[in-house]
Symmetry: C2
Subunit: 391 residues, 2 copies
């Protein structure tokens, strides 16, 4: 069979995209980078991008009204933003956490880096599959031990088995992402509390990344279940929180971490003075305002419900398996013999749908892609394409 | 003599401001922080803030037209910005520097922190007076040796004496800010080149902070004289560059550093993945565009000339001494017996002029304030107040 010109073009674009991806390390190239380097690709849905699009809309409404229409934006961009501790004070009041325990950061990734460089020493246990920066950002004095989450068990963490493993391995630090990225596996509040209580005397740092916690729930009220306040009793518990996902503002770079006072002091006495930009400062001020939060809560729940429906529809499609998730994304195993790389390329180049090829994820055996829930309309487009592609 | 109510109010405000200042460590509280905590103070001129106000205007013109009017800002705030190395590629092309030698950062302060934490070990020589972060951000393995710039010599660095000192002390790293902050002292290109050539075999890191270099000049054409390209020959030369001052965009947080490839690789393999926000990415893209640069060059020179006139007028005022400067600020010694703290408070509270009280600067003996040149109109207000206050 001869290759028709469409196939040849597809192959050429595939090759180009593969080299672009390899330049981005263990992360996906951003949509902006793809658009710049491969303008021939028209992305319709960025399902690689893990964020609540309704929250973006809500934020932009405030931003337009309060910064643009007033021209306050000029001041925000011209002058130095507040120092780190000024924002921590604000945040502390809202979170009801001692501000001296809060490290405000230029995206959660800055907190991950700071913590992995400065406080993690010796052995660190990281569950796999995971977000690669946790093992990539360790310092030279750290040895990483992976704890495999089993595909056969839907990547669910078994608390008793995990506790036993940690007690046997006696690491310096353990890292838990809840819900986990890339599989969306969720550890219930009571189980996580139990793990923390059992292990706080065993390890030096318990690091819990709650960047996707706003999408998780345990009851039909969809109430938020964060372990934030356990930091009051457990001084070696470190919580890391991105604002990019739940608030849909990855371009702003905003996050925070809660940890022992002496740790925050060590970080701030030695750096991180003006690590927030002016727009991030505006966001954090907005984040503590009741009018904003009331409206945010409505769209948080709306997005959770829509994501639930989307993922349950996806689960019905043959030849793929959608793993159980409590995040705003779903890990999908391809069962028809095609590779994750091929499917990712076809989705992007032919359909304009950008998904995360998980081939580079340590601890994933099989062909996996990760798919984010987006707006209702975008989800419908994705569903239609997946039906065409797999059924 | 009884205190009248105005005096009492002044004293109360002074006390409040002193406690605000002490909460900001060795830096001044930002204007935003003062306005928030002390709304009774009306700041008319922020002469603490070292930036070209005309460059802010120029940037905001582009920002309004290209991001706001097009609503492109929504995309900039919603999605992840490009990874660090993507911006380095762009910048490399414009600067004609190998992009693998460029570390793009969230404000120059991030580069200062990264370099002082990661590459400076053992003895570091820092000239005083200086920008405090250089000695505050050293790691536990570093011992700081100060090299005193003499007031009697107008804080000018004597190359021969400095080279001799470094050769005798044999440090791991030396740090030079050119022009220096807070005195504005300038090391001529040929002298700095000589120092680098003499010492590149003696020390492991030669760190030169050129954050204020856009305001310096050596001829009547006011041409820029950067040592940037010496990094091609001298692999242990590290250049640090803030964009906040020359481009008037401190709220955006943008800077870069040039250093050996293996150093950039060490930083990026272990962190700093998405350390630029979306607006900073837009700025860097703009920074490499000929249309923007052409217009910037005009206002860079306009601002230098206005600053020259302002500082020469200030120099004529009795009871103060304005030290020679090639930066956009001037170090002023108060000679009438009043303290820098008192003058700073009176200027702020009574006249709404915010200047930098230099009492906390190591290596400054006497009463000093630092004063930034602002727009022509603001400079005139400052001159009038200074005449009233000192003559």
């Amino acid at each position: 069979m001869e290759l028709v010109s469409e196939d040849i073009q597809l192959l050429e674009l595939e090759e180009k995209f593969i080299s672009l991806k390899s330049a981005s390390g263990t992360h996906s190239p951003s949509m902006a980078t793809i658009q710049e380097k491969m303008p021939e690709i028209k992305i319709r849905v960025d399902a690689c991008f893990l964020s609540n699009p309704y929250a973006t809309e809500l934020f932009l409404g405030y931003f337009n009204k309060e910064l643009l229409e007033t021209n306050e934006i000029a001041r925000v961009l011209e002058f130095y933003p507040s120092q780190n501790s000024v924002i921590a004070d604000l945040l502390g009041e809202y979170l009801e956490i001692d501000p001296q325990k809060i490290f405000v950061c230029n995206g959660a990734i800055e907190a991950i880096q700071a913590i992995m460089h400065k406080f993690v020493r010796g052995k660190a246990i990281i569950n796999i599959p995971t977000f690669s920066s946790y093992y990539e950002f360790v310092n030279a004095e750290t040895e990483v031990t992976f704890y495999q989450l089993e595909k056969e068990n839907n990547f669910k963490l078994d608390p008793a088995r995990y506790i036993e493993f940690v007690k046997r391995e006696k690491p310096n630090s353990i890292i838990l992402i809840n819900p986990n990225n890339p599989d969306g596996g969720y550890i219930k509040y009571k189980n996580l509390k139990f793990i923390i209580e059992e292990l706080s005397g065993v390890v030096e740092n318990i690091i819990v990344d709650e960047s996707f916690i706003h999408f998780a729930f345990e009851d039909s009220g969809l109430e938020l279940k964060s372990i934030l306040h356990l930091t009051e009793k457990v001084d070696n518990l470190i919580i890391i929180k991105s604002m990019s996902k739940d608030f849909g503002i990855a371009g702003i770079r905003a996050g925070y971490a809660i940890m022992g006072k002496e740790k925050v002091r060590a970080l701030l006495s030695n750096g991180y003075l003006w690590n927030l930009n002016g727009v991030a400062e505006y966001f954090f001020r907005l984040y503590t305002r009741p009018d904003f939060l009331k409206r945010y809560e409505v769209i948080r729940k709306k997005y959770i419900i829509e994501s639930l429906i989307f993922i349950s529809e996806l689960s019905k499609i043959r030849n793929i398996k959608a793993y159980s998730t409590k995040a705003n994304f779903v890990l999908i195993e391809i069962l028809d013999g095609r590779t994750a790389e091929h499917i990712t390329n076809v989705l992007l180049i032919k359909y304009g749908i950008y998904v995360r090829n998980c081939s580079d994820k340590i601890g994933l055996k099989g062909e996996f892609i990760r798919l984010a829930a987006r707006s209702n309309d975008e989800n419908d487009q994705v569903l239609a394409v997946f039906k065409e592609l797999f059924e």
